[in-house]
């Protein structure tokens, strides 16, 4: 039975790019639950822009797999959320439609790139949201806005319909106020999809269980050392002690591959992005241009005009990384570094069941606080390892510093998303 609800949020933080005032929904496990969708996930008949001028007016003729699943679960899809253009950013300031503000402090960024999704949930505009996480884009805004966000194991959620930024790294994932919400949303979107060749047949049929008795939790020194705000580190350590009280065991450990992880991550994501974003030429979709110019001239002008600076910067960096003369030094070596990260995780997961640390090295930045690109990139250091390895990671709120939320990051073994969710749930329950 189709039902409808009206959705007219007072969007003070600019969480949405598109809202749907009159939403219809069906019966199902998420019947009537309001869900916002990041604007890089294709929605049939609803403009999908990736917060970029180059996709202004683009209306996909098809639904992403996750959207199909949400609809058949009865979810009420209420709108498309703001983001860093094509997912390229850590603050949602790189949206061509203007930044999203942090509901906890409108003078600060909500994190990114799924900042609109996090803010929409944190501000209470909707129950849940979908984000995508290429190098921390779900976990970072979850941490900055004080909500829960999961980056699932690579392959567990179909990427069909997710507008690719860096295919080998990214996953769509659930965001909600609490772990139970994340778990409910995840149970709808996880599972195999034959249209995504990297998809794995691992549905998620699970209810969070707060038991962590005997769980060995590794605390890599790199997650608490140089570059990490000591107050954030302390807050996270206290959160770990909550888990210890619940029966878990904390174990100090080390991840030496962290030294090369960020460089590897940025080489890989910009390389893939430079190729992924080449298709935006205004021929098949997106605003057209001047047909009197020659092809390369027109294309180059059009892309200069309609891609933001950060996008062009990453396209150029990625083109460097793949170009003759650089490929062997950058792209190929990044694969070596990626393998080192995977090896580190494999070794650590022989000794511990879970890795814990801060999600972000600091609390949410002030608006326009970070202007140097490299400094901005460095803030992703704690989130990118999980993407390089493809393992599941969650951010769960674990207290405050200067009145701003801090996120506890829990990273698990491949396909142990359930254990990651259980541990986050145990913390959530124990912290009450």
């Amino acid at each position: 039975m189709a039902k409808t609800l009206t959705f007219t949020p007072d969007d003070k933080v600019h969480a949405f790019i598109t809202t749907i005032p009159e939403v219809s929904y069906e019966d199902g496990p998420l019947s009537g639950v309001t869900v916002a969708i990041k604007d890089n996930i294709s929605t049939r008949g609803i403009e999908t822009t990736c917060a970029s001028q180059i996709l202004k007016g683009y209306i996909p003729p098809y639904d992403a797999h996750v959207v199909t699943l949400l609809k058949s679960a009865g979810a009420a899809i209420v709108g498309k959320t703001n983001m860093d253009e094509f997912g390229m950013g850590t603050t949602t300031e790189n949206s061509s439609f203007g930044p999203t503000l942090n509901p906890c402090d409108p003078g600060r960024v909500p994190g990114g790139s799924s900042g609109g999704s996090a803010a929409a949930v944190a501000a209470g505009y909707c129950d849940m949201a979908l984000g995508s996480d290429t190098g921390g884009s779900i976990r970072c805004p979850a941490a900055f806005c004080g909500i829960v966000g999961l980056k699932p194991t690579y392959g567990r959620v179909s990427r069909y319909g997710l507008i690719a930024y860096a295919n080998s790294l990214e996953q769509i994932g659930p965001m909600a106020k609490d772990v139970t919400g994340v778990s409910r949303l995840f149970s709808v979107i996880a599972g195999h999809d034959k249209r995504d060749s990297t998809s794995v047949d691992r549905p998620y049929i699970h209810t969070p269980n707060p038991s962590v008795k005997g769980l060995r939790i590794g605390l890599p020194e790199e997650f608490f050392g140089k570059g990490v705000d000591p107050k954030v580190a302390d807050t996270v350590k206290k959160a770990v002690s909550v888990l210890e009280q619940a029966g878990a065991e904390a174990v100090p450990c080390s991840m030496p591959s962290m030294s090369h992880a960020l460089a590897a991550y940025y080489v890989i994501c910009t390389s893939e992005a430079s190729s992924n974003l080449a298709r935006f030429d205004g021929i098949r979709y997106g605003p057209g241009g001047d047909l009197r110019k020659s092809w390369h001239e027109e294309f180059s002008d059009r892309r200069q005009e309609r891609f933001g600076k950060e996008v062009r910067r990453r396209i150029i960096l990625g083109t460097f990384s793949l170009a003759a003369g650089y490929f062997g030094r950058y792209y190929q070596k990044a694969q070596t570094a990626r393998q080192m990260v995977r090896d580190d995780f494999a070794r650590l997961f022989g000794e511990v069941d879970m890795i814990a640390g801060p999600t972000m090295p600091s609390i949410a930045f002030k608006l326009r606080e970070k202007s140097d690109p490299l400094q901005m990139y460095l803030s992703d250091i704690l989130t990118v390892p999980a993407n390089l390895a493809g393992v599941p990671a969650i951010s769960v709120p674990c207290g405050q510093v200067e009145g701003m939320p801090v996120g506890l990051q829990l990273i698990g073994r491949h396909f142990e998303d359930e254990k990651v969710i259980d541990t986050a749930f145990a913390y959530e329950q124990g912290a009450v």
Partner: protein, 89 residues
């Protein structure tokens, strides 16, 4: 370390315009970031990532295509059922 000529050349290869006012800024930023990437060059060559899956296929079955109208709906310029693009010659 890259110079503005390198950035111009790469921007041209990527078909993304960078104007004269931006070129200095892009050059210094790219230079800084590429220098940071240089740390990778100390690593040994040759890791291939285990992708986890092999031989993912579909059967040779026809599925429904979009109609011509649907295919062209998002195009800014079209003519007689074709997409329209600038000259290439």
């Amino acid at each position: 370390m890259v110079v503005s000529e390198d950035v111009r050349k790469i921007a041209k290869l990527a078909d993304v315009g960078v104007d004269d006012r931006e070129i200095e800024e892009f050059t210094s930023q790219c230079s800084e970031i590429l220098t940071y990437f240089e740390m990778l060059d100390t690593l040994p060559q040759g890791a291939t990532i285990d992708r986890g899956l092999v031989n993912i296929f579909r059967e040779d079955e026809i599925t429904e295509s979009l109609s011509q109208e649907e295919a062209l709906r998002n195009a800014a310029e079209k003519e007689d059922g074709f997409f329209k693009a600038p000259r290439v010659m």
